[in-house]
């Protein structure tokens, strides 16, 4: 049972990672790319970590794996804010749909 849950979480995590990368490649400007990177990728990381924590040998190992996630979340929030703020200060305007 836990093996099945672990495998599903790993696959879901891989999917979210893929979504994040797809967003990074396809989105038009730095703000939208930040959006793809900050959310989809960290959700993928969370799923992968949860999937691996389910099959960890000890509770301590599982907690250590799960500890990476808050760190990554806090880090990505801070970095996204810093980059978006800087981009705004440099006068990069957000992408708009082209006028027809």
């Amino acid at each position: 049972m836990s093996e099945f849950a672990s495998s599903s979480l790993l696959v879901i995590g891989a999917f979210f990672y893929f979504a994040g990368t797809l967003g990074l490649v396809r989105f038009p400007d730095v703000y939208t790319r930040l959006h793809a990177l900050a959310k989809a990728d960290n959700l993928g990381l969370g799923c992968v970590l949860a999937g691996l924590a389910l099959q960890a040998d000890s509770l301590a190992a599982a907690l250590k794996l799960l500890l990476i996630w808050p760190l990554a979340l806090a880090a990505s929030a801070a970095v996204s804010y810093a980059i978006a703020h800087r981009a705004d200060a440099l006068g990069i305007s957000p992408w708009r749909r082209e006028e027809e």
Binding site: L10, G20, V25, L37, I68, A72, A75, R86
Partner: protein, 89 residues
């Protein structure tokens, strides 16, 4: 282990290669830096998967360090290195 770890690690690696396209394309330095951040978060995923698949618990510590360093690199870039030099729109 479920046998899925190595295939998924490989898949994430292919993702990283695709992200390199963005790094070459630009147009602002931040777009290139975002690829570095992607390497941070995806690299952490690859490392924890490898630590499970290859029974190397130490790699989890490496993953923690990488997550921290990616954050520091991103902040340092935004605060110190990005001056909107030529090449920006």
């Amino acid at each position: 282990m479920t046998g899925l770890e190595l295939p998924i690690a490989l898949f994430l690696l292919v993702n990283l290669l695709a992200a390199l396209v963005v790094a070459t394309r630009g147009p602002t330095p931040a777009d290139r830096m975002l690829t570095a951040l992607l390497f941070g978060s995806t690299g952490v995923g690859v490392l924890v998967l490898l630590s499970r698949a290859m029974h190397l618990p130490t790699l989890v510590d490496v993953a923690l360090t990488l997550a921290l360093l990616a954050a520091i690199a991103g902040i340092a870039f935004a605060r110190r290195a990005w001056h909107g030099a030529r090449g920006d729109e």
